[in-house]
């Protein structure tokens, strides 16, 4: 068996030491109980602190477990929280683009629509919250698969149905599309899922830069595309919207 990494073992020992009750320990206590030099202990503590696993009390200088550690086991973004943060931005996107807007998250091998803003004309439309979309052919699905490794592995295993002549079902070709998605920061679906319908989507990240969802504008292909390509203004608007929601969730600039 390969040798263990000593500094990780020491870090784990420190976390155990700080765990159990409301414990706050000074640097010398930690160093002596683990039999470490103060400098070594301090280096490890500083790294743990940067990652949020340990916090230092400003007044006493003592260390305690950090909030990040508590989040590890239970953390996921509530989709209803996501919707409430996204509401104003997605309204504005629908209004400026004149098309309908969808917010999707990964759910059971597909994309679950968690928010839908109607196209701002007077036509009758049905709220599609709760509907599922496929991962491999929709703009939302491609964005989630490109950024979220769990979605990516779901995509590998899922049945990739050819909805139209333009649907890409071949894995190698899809990997190329996902590479392009990551490089460009958005994904498109021009009649790959529904005839006559095109869509563009961009990723939403939370404060830990985890991909938590995607936002898309969807409309008739003749309105949202020019010369077979998604209109540039629309792509910019979707990316701006996704960035604004991410910012509201606490993600920094990236």
């Amino acid at each position: 068996m390969a040798r263990n990494i000593q500094s990780l073992e020491r870090a784990a020992a420190m976390l155990r030491l700080l765990g159990g009750g409301e414990r706050r320990l000074g640097l010398s206590d930690i160093a002596s109980s683990l039999g470490l030099a103060k400098g070594t202990a301090h280096g490890i503590l500083r790294t743990l602190q940067q990652e949020g696993f340990v916090e230092q009390d400003a007044a006493s200088g003592r260390y305690q477990l950090g909030a990040e550690l508590l989040r590890l086991g239970t953390t996921y973004l509530d989709v209803h929280e996501l919707r409430s943060r996204a509401l104003v931005w997605t309204d504005d996107l629908a209004r400026s683009s004149g098309e309908s807007v969808y917010l999707g998250v990964l759910h059971q091998h597909g994309v679950l629509i968690v928010h839908h803003v109607f196209r701002p004309d007077d036509s009758r439309q049905v709220l599609e919250v709760g509907a599922m979309q496929p991962l491999h052919s929709t703009a939302l699905g491609k964005v989630l698969s490109a950024y979220d490794p769990v979605a990516h592995s779901e995509l590998m295993e899922a049945e990739r149905k050819e909805f139209t002549a333009r649907t890409i079902s071949d894995l190698d070709a899809l990997e190329g599309v996902l590479d392009l998605t990551r490089a460009r920061g958005y994904a498109a679906d021009v009649e790959e899922t529904w005839e006559g319908i095109a869509s563009v989507a961009a990723p939403i990240h939370d404060r830990r830069r985890m991909p938590v969802g995607a936002v898309a504008v969807t409309g008739a292909v003749e309105r949202v595309c020019a010369d077979g390509e998604m209109r540039a203004g629309l792509i910019a608007a979707v990316r701006d919207c996704a960035r604004a929601v991410s910012r509201d969730l606490g993600a920094g600039w990236f």
């Binding site: 209803h80 504005d92 209004r95 701002p120 910019a236 608007a237 701006d240």
Partner: protein, 512 residues
């Protein structure tokens, strides 16, 4: 926001609210160009008392207006008018010579005039002035608050009778300051704010001399009552005079009426409901004030210039969003307000549980101060998820009780309910609402309907928009929920809810 807007012109709206002052700049399509906001201090001198420092509020208003103009990157030439909407009923008296408030403003939630209102009811009770004003004698309304100040600030009554003191709700205070303050500021209020004082006659739209005398408010300190959409004056002097001098100040509407206007509820029978901490439902009843026999308020919806006033029925629910907050903060069952939906969706129904949040008694349509909150129908089967569902259903049933009362009073069936406010992001709640009302529930694309209403009224006054039809054309449906519940199930559930409501009454024994 997400894209570059076309060049102006624009309308600015000030929302002088309970916790903050905001300014939003709108374009011709009713889209938001920029926003600035600043909170002010909530002052609690005694239990039940709530005050605001009006000087702080005026400073904040100037800052947010300047801030919103700066963020929009525009100048005075791009702004066609400024409109105002405000927390209703909050009362201020100030010295017209110095421009200084004589006391902190008394906020609408403040209950110090409870005893005074009882006393003013004499042998008739709280409906003594209802025929003329449309309101019960309750501590929210402005008139008795003014009387309290005159009784309790030394020497104030003499100064008021000498004509040195001005009365106003926050619209009056902001307009007076905007239009020059001590240097010729216009002392006006609009019909919607005046209709919340208990001093205005709903039928004549003038101060009611008899009631003013009965409540003890000298008429010389009252502002002139104007329409909700007309030019009251121009921005003059002060910090804002430098950047916006000469811009017409052209609308004033109480916040809930502004939301009715912003939701473009211009036809009889159209209604809006704003879901915040509490909920306010207003229904347009056209050109006639409808007396309520079911515990609603009769109020002015709006009046555009010389046109006839449009009236409204109003029902409020004290506890809606605050019940979700209570589940989060007091019970610790959820960690964010949005999680109530997640928890509620983990079960199919309420498991037989009903939650009536009569935390401070029952409001419309019951008005029972002896009631207290109840969770009814508990069995071992009930989980916190069922309670989460009961919490959301409580908001929907309370809305249903108000719309039922409105239908009884007005004879008009609700065709659809337009909703706004923070809780509209709760999809399950909106669907439940539609199911319980058996009517479509519609959310507009601009969430800021209050500011938008003030902007619309100001824009109409200066010809920026020419008719209310122009405004309707701006209204966009962002989402619509349609009923999906069997009639028998709805009736059965409603019956259970009403049984639970009954269980809340008479909890306090020394009242009623």
């Amino acid at each position: 926001m997400t894209d570059a807007h076309t060049a102006g012109p624009f309308i600015a709206a000030i929302d002088q609210g309970t916790t903050s002052s905001r300014c939003i700049v709108f374009d011709r399509d009713g889209r938001i160009v920029s926003v600035d906001q600043k909170e002010h201090e909530q002052i609690f001198p005694k239990p039940g008392w709530v005050e605001h420092n009006a000087a702080e509020i005026w400073t904040n208003v100037q800052e947010v207006v300047a801030g919103a103009i700066e963020k929009a990157g525009i100048t005075r030439d791009d702004i066609k008018a400024i409109g105002i909407t405000n927390q209703r009923e909050t009362t201020l008296l100030w010295d017209k010579n110095s421009g200084e408030p004589v006391h902190n403003a008394i906020v609408w939630q403040d209950t110090r005039t409870d005893a005074l209102c009882k006393e003013l009811g004499r042998n008739v009770g709280q409906d003594r002035f209802r025929r003329e004003t449309g309101l019960p004698l309750a501590s929210y309304f402005a008139g008795p608050k003014a009387r309290w100040l005159l009784d309790n600030v030394e020497g104030l009554r003499e100064r008021a009778e000498a004509g040195d003191i001005l009365f106003g709700t926050m619209d009056s205070w902001v307009i007076w300051n905007l239009t020059g303050g001590v240097n010729g500021g216009h002392h006006v209020t609009d019909v919607t704010n005046a209709s919340r004082t208990l001093l205005m006659n709903l039928h004549t739209m003038e101060w009611d001399e008899k009631i003013c005398d009965s409540i003890g408010v000298p008429r010389q300190m009252l502002p002139e009552i104007r329409s909700s959409a007309e030019v009251y004056g121009a921005v003059t002097g002060g910090k804002l005079g430098d950047i916006l001098g000469g811009i017409p100040v052209a609308s004033a509407l109480g916040d809930q009426q502004a939301a009715l206007f912003g939701q473009t509820c211009f036809s009889e029978g159209e209604a809006k409901s704003t879901y915040g901490t509490g909920t306010f439902l207003l229904m347009n009843t056209g050109e006639k004030p409808v007396n309520s026999y079911n515990g609603l308020l009769t109020t002015v919806g709006y009046r555009i210039g010389d046109e006839k006033p449009v009236y409204a029925l109003e029902g409020s629910i004290a506890v809606t969003g605050s019940l979700v907050q209570w589940m989060r903060d007091q019970m610790g069952l959820i960690s964010t307000a949005a999680e109530i939906e997640t928890l509620a969706l983990s079960v199919e129904d309420n498991g037989g549980a009903y939650f009536v949040p009569a935390f401070s008694g029952l409001f419309a349509p019951y008005w029972r101060s002896d009631a207290r909150g109840v969770i009814a129908g508990l069995t071992r089967y009930v989980t916190k998820a069922h309670l989460a569902r009961a919490v959301l259903e409580a908001t929907a049933w309370q809305t249903r009780e108000i719309t039922d009362a409105m239908t009884k009073d007005s004879g008009v069936e609700l065709a659809a309910l337009k909703v706004d406010g923070g809780m509209t992001s709760n999809n399950l709640l909106m669907q439940t609402l539609s199911d319980f009302l058996d009517a479509p529930v519609v959310r507009p694309m601009v969430a800021e309907t209050t500011c938008l209403g003030a902007a619309y009224a100001a824009g109409l006054a200066v010809g920026f928009w020419s008719t209310t039809d122009d405004l309707r054309a701006n209204w966009r449906r962002a989402a619509e929920w349609t009923p999906n519940m069997a009639a028998e199930a709805r009736d059965r559930e409603y019956k259970s809810w009403l049984k639970a409501v009954e269980r809340t009454m008479g909890w306090l024994e020394d009242e009623n």
